[in-house]
């Protein structure tokens, strides 16, 4: 996985840590579980430090310190999805994963299975980019591992593996004064955001905001990659 970076945009930044990802890229599942078992784990810290520090500082300098000071609290986590550093990190991971997908299914299996594989890989890369700070990302990472088992469990009633952890923080008293229609819509929203069923409304909204921002970045990155590939396809290098 040695990319010859001829056009290194940040000459002062060492891209070698990116190539260390080859350890992790061998098994997303193991890596996801490493995050799941402890965010302070060795791998996770190394991943964060190696990838995000240098690029984040550069990106943050671009965004301007003023934005951070002005928008504090809830908005600060959302702005991170729009930085170039994040998009870059995500795109790199996605490209590596796409290469693996292509290798693993050389004979063009049905488009659906491969596009589903791509979707799964993209979602997992997105969840990793969240660095374990949001419930939806943790749900995606753990969900992919137990996908088959959880489906059976969910039908039996009570997805304990996902719901068990998700309800750790659902300690706020139930909202009794909310009208039913609002509750229903909130539940629908909770189903749309991974890992957010049966959570209090405030938590769901917070997760949804971050999830939407992350999805937007995902769409931007994937469409850019698709454009590059289609452009490159018409002009074979």
């Amino acid at each position: 996985l040695g990319f010859p970076l001829r056009n290194n945009p940040f000459p002062s930044i060492d891209y070698r840590p990116l190539q260390n990802l080859s350890h992790f890229s061998l098994s997303w599942i193991e890596f996801g579980e490493a995050i799941w078992s402890g965010w302070r784990s060795r791998w996770f810290v190394r991943f964060v430090m190696a990838i995000s520090n240098a690029e984040r500082e550069t990106a943050a300098a671009k965004e301007g310190g003023g934005e951070r000071k002005r928008k504090r609290g809830a908005e600060k986590p959302l702005a991170k999805w729009r930085t170039q550093g994040e998009q870059k990190t995500y795109s790199s991971k996605l490209v590596e994963a796409l290469r693996r997908v292509r290798r693993s299914s050389p004979a063009a299996s049905t488009d659906h299975s491969r596009s589903r594989a791509i979707r799964a890989v993209a979602d997992r890369a997105l969840a990793l980019a969240a660095r374990g700070q949001t419930r939806w990302s943790r749900a995606i990472l753990s969900g992919r591992t137990l996908k088959l088992r959880v489906r059976a469990l969910a039908r039996a009633g009570g997805p304990k593996s996902l719901g068990g952890v998700a309800t750790v923080f659902a300690s706020r008293p139930a909202e009794k004064t909310k009208p039913q229609a609002l509750e229903r819509k909130a539940r629908v929203l909770g189903r749309l955001v991974p890992g957010c069923r049966k959570l209090p409304l405030a938590t769901i909204l917070e997760e949804a905001s971050d999830y939407i921002a992350a999805l937007e970045m995902q769409v931007r990155a994937m469409s850019t990659i698709a454009n590059i590939l289609s452009a490159a396809g018409s002009q074979p290098m």
């Binding site: 040695g2 990319f3 010859p4 970076l5 001829r6 056009n7 945009p9 609290g73 809830a74 908005e75 600060k76 986590p77 170039q84 870059k88 795109s91 790199s92 490209v95 590596e96 796409l98 290469r99 292509r102 063009a108 488009d111 596009s115 594989a117 791509i118 979707r119 993209a122 700070q133 923080f169 909202e175 004064t177 909310k178 609002l182 819509k185 909130a186 629908v188 929203l189 749309l192 409304l201 405030a202 909204l205 917070e206 949804a208 905001s209 939407i212 921002a213 999805l215 995902q218 769409v219 994937m222 850019t224 990659i225 698709a226 590059i228 590939l229 289609s230 490159a232 396809g233 290098m237």
Partner: protein, 92 residues
């Protein structure tokens, strides 16, 4: 979960009312959708939730379409290392 940034703000002066939470969150949502809603006045919470749901659904659909497109493109040509460098350089 220990949060480095104060995401779950439990005010020490007392619990935050649900109404306050709703107001803050609705504002948050509206900010996200400002491009879509245009200059709508902040509608009811139900509308915000509804719009959020449909927006997430449309984003999901877009990701699915892009996955389809990428799978077709992967069919034609893999991602060579040159293209990988090209992609990265594009995000300068």
């Amino acid at each position: 979960m220990s949060s480095r940034r104060s995401r779950s703000r439990q005010s020490s002066s007392g619990r935050i009312t649900d109404q306050q939470i709703d107001d803050l969150m609705s504002k948050l949502q509206s900010l996200l959708h400002e491009a879509r809603l245009g200059s709508h006045d902040r509608a009811s919470a139900a509308k915000v939730l509804q719009d959020t749901c449909s927006y997430i659904r449309s984003l999901h659909r877009e990701v699915d379409d892009l996955s389809e497109r990428l799978s077709e493109l992967l069919d034609a040509a893999g991602v060579s290392s040159d293209q990988a460098a090209c992609i990265r350089s594009l995000f300068m």
